[in-house]
Symmetry: C2
Subunit: 328 residues, 2 copies
């Protein structure tokens, strides 16, 4: 690790990948590390599928399908059509070009290679200069206790379209999983300028990362400031069930609810400017709070939000004394 | 097994599938069983691939790529292009629609289903009325001892394009493999009107079937006449390395060489009419020999050759006394 400035982004899939792209554009090549949720990973048709890793990789490679935010632009679904014809499981949308990633990852995992090494190599072959790290090389499975029983993540999220009511969430395997091999050193690196938590679903995308042994403590101990971006705009998630899950867990679906969820980890917080009225209240929690446009439709939006996050973290990093966050 | 007339075809891939299609058109629906070589089967990218089964299935379903004789008509190769981009193994041509078959077969094998059951179900979903049976539910691997060392079949056949000189051929696992579950009953069935050996490569496609325990004896004991079609025309294989392998094994690459190879099994033999000069010599071996056009370019060619084979077997079946073939 050199003493050049480094940045760490914690993220899930689509929304997080958009901010990752903005950051990659705003930062010098190679100075961004994206730590990606793998709690959504699953085995399907014998393939090891890592949806969030692929979304981040395809997004940073400029290959992502702009209409969906995941999958490859211009991909075809001939294999999936073939599976339907054979009455095979066709509920998970696998594009033909996308399948190559799953086949190759599965092949290399079966050959004994670690997920992080495979991910780095595939990303570099697609021309990505940011480092994309799975949160762990070990399997972690997000499981949902719902009114329809205990559900695996993709069953809940894709097959049932997040309709069941969530009672509790479990990150199976997290307590025995090792965090990404380079992470401990990165968090101690004096060149680490800031840690950003993407506007991903806190329960489904960020908490699986935070559930890894020692990770909350390592983040709390890091000298770099930690800044989170709210995934809610006016009480609604841009995409996905964040607000629905908050209501189901008995939490108010607003920016303050997000800020409180991450409270012990954070120095700064960014909420959408439509939620600016909440800023003062969040400020009272001890967080430096900024309102900004957080809806990322265009690349300019992504870069603009990235600049806000970088700017907030830099201000916090330059502030006298220790950041405000609580430790432990 | 009813007492309706039944027919059994032993075959490999492309050439055998063509005759299977001709027979399927000439026979009542459901009266043809195709026993297919699985010695070419292999695991690739984590998928269980059965090239000959798929070629026969696609051909009988009317879905085969007419340009190659294998794969699906109009298939795309987007996944394979994706694999190339990731520097994955792209030497085996996997079409996108074809991949569905491999994924679904592999998924069902992993779930504990037997290859024969999966094959039947996939074929019926594609509208095939003939029965397609893998020669065995157990894995058998054709291995080639060559001047480039011991090679797995697809490494020899596809990756090295059958260039290495073959010294010997081994059917690994054959002696412990059980023949297709229904085969013993079919061979004993009084309704079995004839057994046809397709113009497939004798060493690479038919011998793996004949290497199964007891299979030669069961064929010899069957009351139904056995007829083979030569895969050579004027000393050349229509497709593949039959003639090259014969030369490498020190055998004359001609119809008589083929007839001698199967001699103890056969009652009748069909050679191409360009090789008619050899017919008398083969007749001296005790085989009823017929010359006919064996090159199958059109469906009419396939049906015409099927009629020749059916006619020869029917004549032999009607002849007084036991067929000519030697037993044991």
């Amino acid at each position: 690790m050199s003493h050049d400035e480094h940045w760490l982004l914690l993220c899930g899939g689509v929304g997080g990948a958009k901010l990752a792209l903005g950051l990659a554009h705003e930062l010098p090549p190679g100075s961004l590390t994206v730590l990606v949720n793998t709690g959504d990973d699953f085995r399907h048709l014998g393939l090891w599928i890592s949806p969030d890793l692929d979304t981040v990789t395809y997004t940073l490679a400029g290959l992502v399908n702009p209409a969906t935010g995941w999958g490859l632009a211009g991909d075809t679904f001939h294999c999936l059509e073939g599976l339907s014809r054979l009455s095979g499981p066709d509920w998970f949308r696998l594009g033909d070009r996308d399948l190559a990633t799953h086949l190759e990852r599965t092949r290399r995992l079966a050959a004994g290679e670690r997920l992080g090494s495979i991910t780095s190599d595939l990303a570099s072959r697609l021309g990505v200069s940011a480092r994309i790290w799975p949160m762990s090389d070990d399997p972690v499975a997000t499981l949902l206790h719902t009114d329809s029983g205990l559900l695996e993540f993709q069953d809940y999220f894709v097959r049932r379209q997040a309709a069941p009511v969530v009672r509790a969430i479990e990150y199976h395997g997290a307590s025995e999983a090792g965090p990404a091999p380079g992470l401990a050193n990165l968090l101690k690196d004096p060149g680490l300028a800031g840690i950003i938590i993407a506007p991903s679903n806190p329960w489904l995308s960020i908490d699986p990362i935070l559930a890894l042994p020692g990770l909350r403590q390592s983040l709390a101990d890091a000298r770099a400031p930690v800044v989170a971006v709210s995934p809610l705009i006016a009480g609604q998630a841009v995409k996905g069930p964040s607000a629905k899950i908050m209501r189901e867990l008995g939490l108010p679906p607003d920016a303050q609810g997000i800020a409180r969820h991450y409270l012990c980890l954070l120095d700064g917080f960014i909420l959408d400017d439509r939620d600016e009225a909440e800023a003062a209240g969040i400020g009272l929690l001890g967080l430096e709070t900024v309102a900004a446009p957080t809806l990322m439709r265009s690349l300019d939006d992504r870069r603009s939000l990235a600049r806000v996050a970088l700017g907030l973290a830099r201000r916090l990093g330059n502030s006298i004394g220790r950041p405000h966050r609580q430790t432990g």
